[in-house]
Assembly symmetry: C2
Homo-oligomer: 119 residues x 2
DNA sequence: GGCATATTCAACCAAACGGTTGACGAAACC
DNA sequence: GGTTTCGTCAACCGTTTGGTTGAATATGCC
């Protein structure tokens, strides 16, 4: 596996954008069509389509065409390498569940607007 | 904490570069001066200095000036939020130690060249 | 003081990013 | 068959990125 590092580049880069993280959060709840993914964002469908392409190339989501609708599905396994890479820096063997809850409350306020964006 | 999402942007972006991940790996072993961090890389000192600035602004390292030498120290706590964010995607409550070992062997071959870069 | 060492700053560059728009292709509906 | 819907493509645009170089700013040494 020579390109291990490159895969990490792709994964972390994909995660480094709030829109893309918001999309992943949305897909946590259910598979979605591209248009439905795009709907809550104040940007063009083409822009969201690009984001989905980046997530897809990173392996973080998969896309399956059914009829004219393209369904997007979370592929959380792709986070594994990145997560494991982080583990190599210690500290995280036992994630503090308390901190986790607080974090979620801050990152996904109300969970009705689980976008990971400010506001 | 309104800018939680922005912090994640910064952290993931900092991690999305192989040079910067290599630097973090080097700092795992020991604190280092800027010049010593730069030495193994085939790029200018100024470039490495910029990378260190990015890592520092992300909180992933701290820098302390002693005399004319600036020492760089790993700050693994900054990975916590990013790590926790990943936990929200499930899958990782129990990291597979076996996978972890294999990963380390691939990412840091021999551990004498723990750069995280290809080759 | 004068010179070497350690690090950053400033200006610049090519390439990539995140977005837009308009055209296009493919599937579905009537 | 014509039109609408879904999604991508291509071209473009301003900004950011990751790198370079040379000058500037400490600090340490003799």
């Amino acid at each position: 596996m020579p390109a291990m590092s490159h895969r990490l580049d792709i994964t972390f880069h994909a995660l480094a954008d709030p829109t893309r993280r918001a999309i992943l959060s949305m897909l946590l709840e259910d598979d979605m069509a591209v248009s439905d993914v795009a709907e809550p964002f104040e940007m063009s469908l083409a822009a969201v389509s690009k984001h989905l392409g980046i997530l897809s190339r990173a392996g973080l989501i998969s896309q399956e065409r059914r009829g004219r609708v393209k369904w997007c599905q979370l592929e959380p396994d792709a986070l594994r390498d990145a997560s494991i890479w982080m583990q190599s820096f210690g500290q995280f063997e036992a994630v503090n569940l308390d901190a986790f809850e607080k974090f979620l409350a801050a990152e996904f306020p109300g969970n009705s607007d689980a976008t990971g964006q400010d506001g």
